[in-house]
């Protein structure tokens, strides 16, 4: 069963059809790359998958759950790295991660491992408000990983990361299948992303133009 199943999905932002009939399937352990020009609808598509915005018409299922009926119950199985960090300015990196961790009803030693993996170890005690752009990007990533999601949605995770950060990202995405994670990645860093993707589709003007390019 595909994790994400969209059939001619239309999604409105205000009155603007940011998605104008999207057909897309994401199979388990795919690493799907969404590419396409600015304003094409990539961000909208990812937010829709995460259940943050409602679809308008069509058929949309994530983990088999119909998004028209229930946008919540699939959420604990996925995580989204958006343009912003979703963190609290007055809490430290560690506190933010701990909150996400506990709120997701997890237990264990996930946090320190994630800090390690995203290269945030030295910043655990720094408040979110004081982070630089690239440090925030790392935190956004860590904040998603800490939930150990089956489906990882990444919206331009490269933007603002330095070389070390990109290496971390590379490692995270490339080891995703072996960790049982499916990845959907929207990015303009095509060279870097194509190395990682098992499939690539092009989003354009709110629809999907399938390039049917298969890696591996």
């Amino acid at each position: 069963m595909p994790l994400v199943e969209f059939h001619s999905v239309v999604c409105l932002l205000g009155t603007f059809p940011a998605l104008a009939g999207v057909d897309l399937q994401v199979e388990p352990l795919d690493v799907l790359l969404l590419e396409g020009p600015n304003g094409a609808g990539k961000t909208t598509l990812l937010r829709l998958m995460a259940g943050l915005i409602p679809p308008h018409s069509g058929e949309a299922r994530v983990f088999g759950v119909d998004l028209f009926k229930d946008r919540r119950s699939a959420r604990h199985r996925l995580a989204l790295v958006g343009h912003e960090t979703y963190c609290y300015d007055d809490l430290t990196v560690m506190e933010n991660l701990q909150f996400t961790f506990k709120a997701s009803a997890l237990t264990g030693t996930g946090i320190s491992e994630v800090l390690e993996r995203t290269g945030l170890g030295a910043l655990a005690a720094v408040r979110h408000a004081h982070l630089s752009a690239g440090q925030r990007r790392r935190l956004a990533l860590a904040n998603a990983l800490v939930r150990d999601p089956e489906l990882l949605l990444l919206d331009e995770p490269h933007a603002g990361l330095d070389e070390e950060g990109r290496a971390c990202l590379h490692e995270i995405i490339s080891s995703a299948p072996s960790e049982g994670r499916t990845v959907v990645l929207a990015s303009h860093e095509l060279e870097l992303s194509r190395q990682l993707a098992s499939r690539e589709v092009r989003v354009q003007s709110g629809t999907i133009v399938d390039c049917a390019r298969e890696n591996l």
């Binding site: 995460a50 943050l52 919540r72 959420r75 912003e84 979703y86 007055d90 997701s104 904040n143 939930r147």
Partner: protein, 224 residues
């Protein structure tokens, strides 16, 4: 069980942020005291009027402070889109409601104690029926906090939250204002029999809105 755990997680987070930024203690409280002073001044006090209207002014002030506190509680969620993050964690809407409400209520209660002391001193109020006051204040606070949280999320995410919130909130809270004022008047005059029905009304209101919030918050929280 799970609901309580999650609610206390949210409340804990909000109170920790508050403890760190010191908004309620450092700024909302002085704001309240200044409003109390301004009112008294604007009302030209020589006529013993103040003692009479003290309960009303106290509750109007608490209401204004509550607007700030609620605004702040949701401003915190707006920065860096933390609200979306909270939704993504899959926390139950009811838990978020209870948690935020508890944090706001705790801040308000704290505020009321200090503000009440200030009013007693400044307006020269004599307190007779303390029991009534102690029964009325938490009820009114819960009523304010629950409706505040409910409307806070209604207004949240809208661009104009700061200004929309008072507009939505104040009319709904008019009964609370009235009830709390009457209960306090009764309590201060030492005529508790007048006051108890109002206290009952306040508790009904608080229970109703809390229950309503627990049920409705999820829906509001999910909408965009």
């Amino acid at each position: 069980m799970r609901l309580w755990r999650e609610a206390s997680l949210v409340a804990g987070k909000d109170l920790r942020i508050e403890a760190r930024s010191r908004i309620a203690l450092g700024q909302i409280l002085p704001f309240g005291i200044i409003v109390v002073i301004l009112f008294a001044f604007a009302l030209d006090p020589d006529s013993g009027l103040l003692t009479r209207v003290a309960p009303g002014l106290f509750w109007v002030t608490v209401l204004l402070a509550a607007l700030l506190a609620v605004g702040r509680a949701f401003a915190v969620e707006e920065k860096s889109n933390a609200r979306d993050g909270l939704r993504l964690t899959g926390l139950d809407g009811s838990a978020v409601f209870l948690g935020k409400m508890a944090a706001i209520a705790a801040e308000l209660l704290f505020l009321e104690i200090l503000l009440g002391t200030a009013v007693v001193i400044l307006y020269g109020v004599e307190v007779n029926g303390l029991l009534v006051l102690l029964a009325a204040a938490p009820a009114a606070t819960l009523g304010i906090a629950s409706t505040g949280t409910l409307y806070g999320v209604l207004a949240a995410g809208l661009r104009s939250r700061e200004t929309l919130l008072p507009l939505l909130l104040l009319p709904v809270l008019a009964p609370v204002l009235l009830g709390a004022t009457r209960a306090f008047e009764g309590g201060l005059e030492g005529a508790p029999s007048d006051a108890w029905p109002w206290v009952g009304l306040l508790w009904i209101f608080a229970t109703f809105y809390t229950a309503f919030g627990v049920l409705a918050f999820g829906t509001l929280w999910e909408n965009d």
